[in-house]
């Protein structure tokens, strides 16, 4: 039964990550490949506050999320000057820089050894440690993120963002500050991804930098692309499909060493096929064409 709750919790994490990246990809038209960096910075940031500064869970969640939001804003300043391929390359560059800092600054992050013994989430003295309780917290957080993105995308802000995505010059002509829209969306998306990171750290109680590599950014992008971008049901579908998919391989009795590669092969084929035959994903409403 714990296994089922583990899967459900992971789905909640990827729903949060997918919904936040969808703000960039589906609504802003920005293919960002540094989402795992924000996810990781959230995990590491809150871990420092809890372990080194002795803070409790809620303040470190809030401060961690705000700090990552600020970092995302700073990263957006140079990145959003570019379009298309060069935007993707720039965000990939930031992803690699942040991973490299997490991996190599071993005085601070213990490098590839990772940090263990991260305290469980607790709310006003109530410790959340059983799998169903953790799932409940993740679920509530996912619903909150869903509500935030819902509110955001149906507001004038969300509509203006879609206008920027569809025709930047037209949006500019209507007096919208295109770059400010892009930067603030980056900030919000980064902060939301960081909430998933904070929760992930306290759920697994051990983090190491390899969970936040470029591969992870590609995987989160897969969640959005395969599920579909530009609405909220797309990334949720993507998260459910992509987290469940490898679990089927487990039932096929494929050895673990091969299964990891086989999972990647399947993701790769899904990406190519989706791009070829259905460029708006399974349930998306924004076509990448």
């Amino acid at each position: 039964m714990n296994y089922v709750f583990h899967i459900l919790t992971m789905i909640c994490f990827y729903i949060i990550l997918g919904l936040s990246l969808n703000l960039l990809v589906g609504y802003g038209g920005m293919f960002s490949l540094c989402h795992a960096a924000f996810y990781g910075l959230g995990a590491y940031g809150s871990t420092f506050l809890m372990l080194n500064a002795g803070w409790s869970f809620i303040p470190s969640l809030l401060v961690g999320v705000i700090v990552v939001g600020v970092i995302a804003y700073l990263i957006a300043i140079p990145s959003t000057r570019f379009h298309g391929d060069f935007f993707i390359l720039a965000t990939m560059g930031f992803q690699i820089i942040i991973f490299s800092i997490l991996y190599n600054w071993s005085e601070l992050t213990k490098g590839s050894y990772g940090i263990s013994g991260i305290p469980r989430a607790s709310f006003w003295g109530l410790k959340i440690s059983s799998p169903p309780a953790i799932f409940a917290v993740a679920f509530v957080l996912a619903v909150m993120v869903w509500l935030i993105t819902l509110r955001l995308t149906r507001s004038p802000y969300g509509r203006a963002l879609q206008a920027v995505r569809d025709d930047e010059t037209a949006a500019l002509a209507l007096g919208k500050n295109v770059r400010r829209f892009k930067r603030s969306t980056f900030c919000i998306a980064g902060a939301l991804a960081a909430t998933a990171g904070v929760l992930f750290a306290s759920y697994s109680s051990y983090i190491d930098p390899t969970s936040f590599m470029l591969d992870e950014s590609v995987f989160i992008l897969c969640v959005v692309i395969i599920g579909g971008a530009g609405n909220l049901r797309g990334p949720i579908t993507g998260a459910v499909v992509l987290v469940f998919l490898p679990e089927f391989l487990r039932f096929l009795q494929i050895p673990d060493a091969v299964a990891a590669n086989m999972r990647q092969v399947i993701y790769g084929f899904l990406l190519v096929l989706i791009m070829r035959f259905r460029p708006r994903g399974l349930l998306g409403s924004y076509s990448f064409d």
């Binding site: 000057r81 391929d85 993707i88 560059g93 690699i96 490299s100 190599n104 990647q264 092969v265 084929f269």
Partner: protein, 304 residues
């Protein structure tokens, strides 16, 4: 790599050594970057699967040399052949249908990423995830004054320069090269004037993959292989294209040499682990302050 870490070596001599090491690596980066730049300017595909082509060439070298124990020159031909076949197949099966549908650059890039993931993980499933060394033992070295280079490093410089020269002659002197440049400049106009754009694209992918395969084998003989060697190299090649500029076909080579040199100097001053940070910090500086690259003359990247 036999770096001169002896205490007797003076600091300047060590610097010369690191510069030489950097230039060897830079020569190979330059080769791969030329292939990437040719494909990018001509087909407008941000060809991340170039990294897959690179990896496959290195693994072909490993497979034929160690498993089947073929003689070395034949192995090299097989490696280049494997690279060209894969590059052309990717264009035929993946990019061509997308281009005919007039897909956006993002769709091409994501497909390319998908192809990279598929190829690399298939290789890992077939031949294992672990790293391998192609030439056990210490390489014979050659001395140039204060600088000591291994034979492989000498081969890296010499063969890369030879390859680049042939490539330059191909582009500037042969009629096929002229056609490639015409398609890169304006493929619609070229097709109106009777150039077969699709065939030209195949040629471009073949030539680009040839250069990638060459670079892959030169690096693989030096530091060995593992399934994930391709991605950092293709990213470095992309960065080299931006640093050098994309408006002249030869300028990515300049970027490649510069990156190799900078990485060599980074290894001299700091632990090698900061290499990738410096590469991408350099990329971001260039994107911010000189987006047209060192030799770029026309419009800025962000205006496209």
């Amino acid at each position: 790599m036999p770096l001169g870490f002896g205490t007797a070596l003076a600091e300047t001599e060590r610097m010369e050594q690191f510069i030489a090491n950097g230039l060897c690596k830079g020569a190979v980066y330059a080769t791969v970057a030329l292939g990437f730049g040719l494909i990018y300017t001509t087909s407008k595909v941000f060809h991340i699967a170039h990294g897959a082509v690179y990896t496959v060439a290195a693994y072909a070298l490993y497979f034929f040399l160690i498993f089947l124990e073929f003689p070395f020159p034949i192995v090299v031909l097989f490696g280049l052949f494997a690279a060209v076949i894969l590059g052309v197949l990717i264009e035929l099966l993946v990019y061509r249908p997308l281009v005919q549908r007039k897909a956006s650059g993002a769709v091409l890039l994501i497909s390319s990423l998908g192809v990279y993931i598929i190829v690399v993980n298939l290789l890992a499933m077939l031949l294992g995830n672990q790293g391998r060394v192609l030439r056990p033992g210490v390489e014979a070295t050659v001395n140039f004054g204060n600088v000591i280079l291994t034979r492989v490093q000498v081969a890296q410089i010499a063969i890369s320069l030879l390859g680049m020269t042939i490539y330059w002659v191909f582009l500037k002197k042969s009629s096929l090269g002229r056609v490639c440049r015409a398609v890169a400049d304006d493929w619609v106009l070229a097709s109106v004037l009777g150039v077969k754009v699709q065939t030209t694209r195949l040629v471009v992918f073949a030539v680009g993959s040839l250069l990638a395969g060459m670079g892959a084998m030169l690096i693989a003989l030096d530091v060995g292989i593992d399934p994930h060697i391709g991605f950092p190299v293709v990213l470095t090649a992309a960065v080299a294209c931006i640093i050098g500029g994309l408006h002249r076909f030869i300028s990515p080579a300049l970027g490649g040499f510069l990156l190799g040199l900078v990485q060599g100097l980074v290894v001299w001053q700091t632990p090698a682990k900061w290499e990738s940070v410096v590469t991408f910090a350099l990329l971001i500086c260039f994107l911010l302050f000189r987006p047209q690259g060192l030799l770029g003359i026309r419009q800025r990247l962000e205006e496209r």
